[in-house]
């Protein structure tokens, strides 16, 4: 769906944010062996080259990354709960969260322990240090703590939900909360107050290392106060944002201001942390905790808003990365840590090692996702669907965030505009129009300059997005390159590179398609074999258009878009191009043609759509179009003034060329009667069926 206001698009953006938060976690963990001043035994490895800037960057990412994750989890949590109901919700969470948690602990636990011992031995110069005393509640959750925390929060939130539903049967409280939520975002009060519960929890910590932010609850199954409060707030607010209908729009609007606050607050945090890394009781600790909350929510709301603002359209790449991110985060730790341990004593700068660890880790993790997870039951478990190696037909995916199913009626339209509105500033280029191109037909789009023809074509080509409505190309979105592989295009006002030969231009365009014609076949079809080795810059205007036509057809397109293809061609070249178009039609290709030349539409079109001022004012076959206006052309030699004739009923247009009076009329008989009565000297009367030209004039005049 192309409308940025639809819920699907919002989900694309939020998916991207969640993926970003998870992938940022990989980068964060990869940085942990390069931090200066970390005492041995805190992390798997300590690198020989450390860096303070990297440490600061890791701190900044750590302020918000998990809260951002929980915020989005809250939003999707309510969405899922609403959609599935309580029972299926828990079944779904069991599969997606609980099973990965248990499986992760069983599979990754031993590997991570082994790496811990190896790494620590290396850190302590080859000798394993004595194991410290473990507290009674010790339970090594490792980096999978967030799944456990998430389950706890689900239980708490669903319980609170039930309680609220009982206490507030008239929904008064909930209405108030919805308004408070969107209001707090719009006024930005939320940025400053949402962190207060967390700040209180952090202030109460007896020992708080500023760098650690919210202490990670990864050593025990007993819920920890700061994490539960901090991530609980994030999740709860995400849940409420899903309730409130205006909240996302407000977040989108305030993205810039929130990021600005986040950056300012983070700058202050870095500055104070450098002065004093461990909190001492007193004013600084209090202020630090408060500013930490502001920075955290500034980032969470700012990044979410920026994503909604800029990433709300569907992108296959982002979709893939978002799908992969869950697996990558679950599986990343052993890979990252093993690399950290391996390179820790290499005599290289961190600026070489850190990026290399990231590149290698992501390569391994994405490859493992692509081959071991995406097409298998693990992908089904983690993301709710299995992607076979061969792409599926659109619409077969059950995920709510997948591209919407296309309307794929047998023999139905190959390209469609439904309810499309497109504005450029105050000018409405298209006003809720519907056009479709059926299989194997040639649709001519006619209209005066500025009518919206090129806008319609640009929508189908995926160059612009509509303000409202749906664009479909070959059963999918035109932005999706896979669907564009079925189109060929010849645009207005395009010059191809003048240094390249025609053969090379065709070869280049053919490289974009899966099963292109050979260069020779393409040139033969376009009738320009003799131009193959001529540089484009040396061709005449007509030859250039023919070369562009060759470029358009080289990929065996299923739909061919020709925008004013014969402008500037002589009669011979135009006939040749028409013949080529007819051959494409005969092969089953559908063609969309915009043109000013009505005889071109009459010569080629199966159907015609007339656009004026952004509206389709008529569509049908060439004959339909003539019948629709039922105009006839009356021509005679007469002295009557055209001004007078124009006032007669049934006269559409009257013009004079020397002696002859040319009248376009809907009621030819009546006009002829009146003509003969008004001018007895009238000579050489002719009446004939009007051409498309006159029909067209009539139609556009009516619309005006």
């Amino acid at each position: 769906m192309n409308n940025p206001n639809t819920s699907e698009n919002r989900l694309h953006a939020l998916d991207a944010v969640r993926g970003f938060a998870l992938l940022l976690g990989v980068a964060f963990h990869a940085a942990l062996s390069f931090l200066p001043g970390v005492p041995p035994g805190m992390w798997f490895a300590i690198d020989s080259s450390t860096n303070a800037v990297l440490s600061d960057a890791a701190f900044v990412s750590h302020i918000f990354r998990m809260s951002l994750f929980f915020f989005i989890a809250g939003y999707f949590g309510r969405l899922l709960y609403q959609k599935l109901g309580a029972r299926s919700f828990w079944a779904n969470r069991l599969k997606r969260i609980f099973i990965p948690l248990v499986a992760g602990l069983i599979v990754l636990g031993p590997i991570v322990s082994f790496l811990w011992m190896t790494g620590i031995t290396k850190v302590f110069g080859g000798k394993m240090p004595p194991m410290p005393e473990m507290p009674a509640d010790f339970f090594p959750l490792g980096h999978l703590w967030f799944l456990y925390q998430l389950l706890l929060i689900y239980v708490a939130v669903v319980a609170i939900r039930a309680l609220v539903a009982r206490l507030d049967p008239a929904q008064k409280l909930r209405c108030f909360v919805d308004q408070a939520v969107s209001g707090s975002i719009r006024t930005m009060a939320g940025t400053f107050t949402l962190g207060l519960p967390l700040a209180a929890a952090l202030m109460s910590l007896p020992q708080w290392f500023y760098w650690m932010g919210i202490p990670t609850p990864d050593m025990t199954l007993i819920p920890q106060v700061p994490a539960s409060v901090g991530f609980g707030t994030a999740f709860g607010f995400g849940w409420l944002v899903h309730r409130s209908k205006d909240a996302l729009a407000a977040i989108t609007q305030r993205w810039f201001a929130n990021l600005g606050i986040a950056i300012a607050a983070t700058g202050w945090l870095l500055h104070s942390m450098h002065a004093q890394p461990v909190a001492q009781p007193g004013l600084t600790k209090t202020v630090y905790a408060l500013v930490f909350g502001v920075a955290l929510w500034g980032w969470v709301l700012g990044l979410t808003g920026a994503a909604l603002r800029f990433l709300s359209n569907y992108s296959a790449t982002r979709r893939y990365i978002a799908d992969a991110s869950y697996w990558i985060y679950l599986a990343h730790l052993p890979v990252v840590v093993a690399l950290q341990i391996w390179v820790s004593h290499w005599p290289l700068n961190w600026a070489v090692k850190y990026p290399s660890i990231l590149v290698v880790s992501f390569a391994v993790l994405f490859l493992s996702y692509h081959y071991l997870v995406r097409p298998t039951f693990i992908g089904q478990l983690l993301n709710g669907r299995k992607h076979p190696r061969k792409p599926q037909p659109p619409g077969s995916s059950p995920s709510p965030a997948a591209p919407p199913p296309a309307d794929t009626v047998n023999g139905g339209p190959v390209a469609q505009l439904r309810g499309i509105t497109k504005k450029y500033g105050a000018v409405t280029a298209l006003n809720s129009i519907d056009i479709e191109v059926r299989r194997g037909e040639l649709l001519a789009v006619l209209g005066p300059n500025g009518a919206g023809k090129s806008t319609a074509i640009s929508l189908w080509l995926g160059l612009i997005e509509p303000d409202a409505g749906t664009v479909t190309l070959l059963g999918g979105e035109p932005q999706d390159i896979a669907h564009r592989r079925g189109l060929g295009v010849m645009m207005q006002d395009v010059e191809l590179p003048k240094e390249l030969k025609v053969r090379e231009l065709v070869r280049l365009a053919a490289s974009y398609y899966d099963d292109p014609m050979s260069v020779e076949d393409t040139l033969r079809r376009a009738g320009i074999e003799q131009l193959a080795n001529r540089p484009y810059g040396k061709l005449s205007g007509g030859q250039k258009r023919q070369a562009q036509f060759a470029v358009a057809i080289c990929g065996r397109p299923k739909v061919l878009f020709l925008d004013e293809p014969t402008v500037g061609l002589d009669v011979q070249a135009r006939e040749a191009l028409w013949a080529s178009v007819r051959r494409m039609l005969a092969d089953g290709c559908s063609v969309v043609l915009t043109t000013h030349y009505l005889e071109e539409a009459e010569a080629l079109a199966d159907r015609i759509a007339v656009i004026t001022r952004g509206k389709v004012i008529a569509s049908g076959s060439v004959d339909d179009m003539r019948a629709l206006v039922a105009c006839r052309q009356i021509s005679c030699e007469s002295r009557l003034s055209i001004a007078e004739v124009r006032t007669w009923p049934g006269v559409v247009e009257a013009q004079r060329t020397q002696e002859r009076l040319n009248i376009t009329a809907t009621d030819a008989e009546g006009v002829v009667r009146q003509l003969l009565a008004a001018d007895p000297a009238l000579k050489r009367l002719e009446v004939r069926q009007a051409g498309l030209n006159e029909a067209f004039t009539e139609l556009t005049r009516e619309a005006a």
Binding site: N51, A351, P393, A482, V494, E499, D514, G555, F561
Partner: protein, 264 residues
């Protein structure tokens, strides 16, 4: 399954090999175009080497024999010039022309891989950079006018190749902002003063130090000096040089993306 759904599968199955092929073909023809266009190729390929020969061999030849640092200085200056010029002019000017021609719109409408034209421009810019840089290295080694060890030479070469990235980004920015006729002028307006004011062509007086970091040239040279371990010419730390190059790249690329998403 109905016909259109089948068709969707047919149009959807992009072979990975084909995508790679599209990138390669695009790059190949981008390079072909640059080489066939003498207006771009000649100044970019010949000028730096000719200038190096003039200064390092004829004018300062004897001085270099006495002061090895001068040899390194001149070699560095013209090498960086040789690699950054194609990066800047090859990407920027051609992009501006292509925008004027409507070619970029056409490529966005065609099923060209979305990044193919950028990758092609950068890759062919790099190839041109190597072609421009190679004769300088050969000349310097043959005449013995540069006293860098083999390892240093390799590290230096790698560093300046990486250093082309901010210039590619700068080129794309200029190409996305300016028209085809104005682009070369703007590119020169930013590039040439930078060559002097960054201290790349001759050492800056101390009173001018403050402004050297605003030129990407400065950071590229610093990055190269660190990697090649030329201790006498390091004025900023390695992370600072990397950070600045990265910063310039991000800002230039950001402006380019902002501009192209708005204007196409």
């Amino acid at each position: 399954m109905n016909a259109l759904a089948l068709e969707s599968i047919a149009v959807g199955s992009a072979g990975r090999g084909r995508t790679l092929g599209a990138y390669l073909t695009e790059t190949q023809y981008e390079l072909t175009r640059m080489i066939r266009n003498p207006g771009v190729a000649i100044p970019v390929l010949v000028l730096p080497c000719a200038l190096y020969a003039l200064f390092a061999l004829l004018i300062a030849g004897e001085a270099i024999d006495k002061d090895a640092n001068l040899g390194i200085f001149l070699f560095t200056a013209f090498s960086i010039m040789a690699v950054t010029m194609p990066a800047l002019f090859g990407t920027g000017v051609t992009l501006a022309l292509e925008r004027d021609m409507g070619l970029l719109r056409l490529k966005r409408a065609q099923p060209a891989p979305p990044a193919a034209w950028v990758v092609a421009k950068i890759a062919s810019g790099l190839v041109l950079a190597v072609l421009a840089y190679a004769p300088i290295v050969i000349l310097a080694l043959a005449t013995g006018k540069v006293s860098l060890g083999a390892g240093q030479m390799a590290a230096f070469s790698a560093a300046i190749m990486v250093g082309t990235i901010p210039f590619c980004a700068m080129g794309l920015m200029i190409g996305s902002l300016a028209s085809g006729t104005a682009a070369p002028a703007y590119a020169n307006l930013i590039y040439l003063p930078g060559c002097y004011l960054s201290g790349m062509f001759f050492p800056m007086p101390a009173s001018m130090y403050w402004q050297t970091p605003i030129w990407p040239h400065f950071h590229v040279k610093q990055f190269a000096m660190h990697l090649a371990n030329v201790t006498g010419s390091q004025y900023e730390s390695l992370p600072m040089a990397i950070g600045s190059m990265l910063g310039f790249t991000v800002v230039f690329a950001g402006i380019t993306i902002w501009r192209l998403t708005r204007k196409g």
